[in-house]
Amino acid sequence: MRKDIFSSAILLAIAGVYYWVSTDIPTSTLEDEVGPRGLPVVLAILLAMVAVVIGTRAFMTAPVAGGAPEDVEAPWPRAMGMWLIGAAYIPAADFLGYWIALLLLISVVAFYEGMKFSWRSALVALGGATFFWLLFSVLLGVRVPEARLFG
């Protein structure tokens, strides 16, 4: 139940920040009675209320011993690592271009997931990057990110 207390605190923070940013919405003469801030304010208040209820409930109920564990989950640092690889793709695509960024992405993820570097894995990454490039750039005619580094 500690998770619930923690999450209720996060929700309260979200509600607070959301409300605070909503004060920045300009008021306009084109507005209706509800106005652009109407719904955001209601949402912020409701979320705060729900958060408080979740939190107090968590305090009051005794911790349930050994809730049925869900599926096997990765420890959080490992999950964040996966996320960071995804995030690194954005600057990579911007600077190195689509094909190279994909090549890196596929190799790094495969390695991160436990595949040892080998000729085979290098070939898979090469083939994968080329396949996606053909699919998106050539077949679908998408203007994929171009390398700023070489441009």
């Binding site: 300009p26 003469t29 084109l30 507005e31 679908l140 005619g141 998408v142 203007r143």
Partner: protein, 325 residues
């Protein structure tokens, strides 16, 4: 249109195909104007099939007829036009990359803080004004602008405009002020749901582009009672303007071409020339009249001040209503 805008954009090498399919009249075509580059990319922020895109693809057919270059239309949709503007603003100023300008790029510049704004582009030439009209459903007793205003005085008027931040909304609001009535102006998301609300009588009238409402117009499900254009629409010459009806509200939804800054005068001159020639082309006239586009040529010299004034007016309107600070 939000519906359209929500979609995506693609590079389309179709212009080349369109050229192959050009009518045989190209044989007796006039001498083509030489152009400094071989391939010209026209960038639009609208997605394939949407307003600006359809307009450009048609235009390209006739550009091809008069100019010795290949024209390609590319859709670059992200950020409500911000991406397309940035792309053209940072292109080499040699006439090889141009932007299909419409009020959208000014609105985006005013409503948000994009990397490049309309000030980073050089307005080159205007081709058309969209025909903005007031339309009512066929069964409606409203026949003139005066009827509309009288209705709004006696009952609570219900007027429709396509998008919240659109020029149509602006026109409706200004008409309200000019006529001193307190009608409810209901903005929608795209012309589609507004059309349904006009047809089922939820709204007294809608403000929209002739091009968008053509289907209902030709099927006689709706009537158009006046245009917000400065002059009457050539194809509908017996319909008055709103201004003629006694309310000084004029809406100019322009369609033209802009390029990167520091374009050499030789290139802007070519476009001044081309724009006039194309608008006079009889085949093209047939096409654009059928779509109720009003030809409205503005050359390079006046186009800059025109855009600046448009931006200033729109900015002032947005500030006065509090939409921006």
């Amino acid at each position: 249109m939000r519906l359209f805008r929500k979609q995506f954009s693609a590079l389309c090498a179709v212009a080349a195909i369109a050229v192959l399919a050009m009518p045989a009249s190209a044989q007796n075509a006039p001498q083509k104007i030489p152009y400094p580059v071989k391939v010209v990319t026209l960038v639009t922020h609208s997605s394939p099939g949407a307003g600006s895109d359809v307009f450009l693809r048609e235009l390209v057919r006739y550009l091809q007829k008069y100019v010795n270059a290949t024209f390609i239309v590319e859709n670059d949709e992200g950020g409500s036009g911000a991406k397309a503007v940035s792309r053209v603003a940072s292109a080499r100023p040699d006439g090889s990359m141009l932007y299909a300008s419409s009020p959208t790029y000014i609105l985006t510049s005013l409503l948000s803080k994009p990397a490049n704004t309309y000030r980073d582009l050089e307005p080159m030439a205007n081709f058309f004004t969209d025909s903005e009209v007031i339309y009512v459903r066929a069964e409606s007793s409203i026949k003139t602008v005066k009827d509309l205003i009288d209705r709004a005085k006696t009952t609570r008027g219900r007027w429709g405009a396509a998008n919240p931040g659109s020029l149509e909304r602006q026109a409706a609001e200004q008409l309200k002020i000019a006529a001193k009535v307190n009608a409810a102006v209901v903005s929608h998301e795209g012309g589609g749901d507004m059309m349904i609300n006009v047809l089922n009588g939820t709204l007294d009238m809608g403000v929209g582009e002739m091009e968008e409402i053509r289907a209902q117009y030709e099927a006689k499900k709706i009537r158009v009672i006046a245009t917000f254009n400065g002059e009457r629409i050539p194809a509908l010459s017996d319909m008055p303007t709103v201004k003629e009806s006694g309310y000084n509200v004029v809406l100019v939804k322009f369609r033209g071409i802009a390029g990167p800054k520091n374009l050499p005068p030789a290139i802007t001159k070519i476009w001044d020339d081309v724009a006039q020639k194309i608008l006079a082309d009889p085949d093209y006239q047939k096409v654009y009249n059928a779509e109720h586009l009003s030809p409205h040529f503005i050359g390079h010299e006046q186009y800059g001040p025109f855009i600046a004034k448009f931006a200033a007016d729109t900015g002032a309107y947005l500030k006065s209503t509090g939409v921006i600070r």
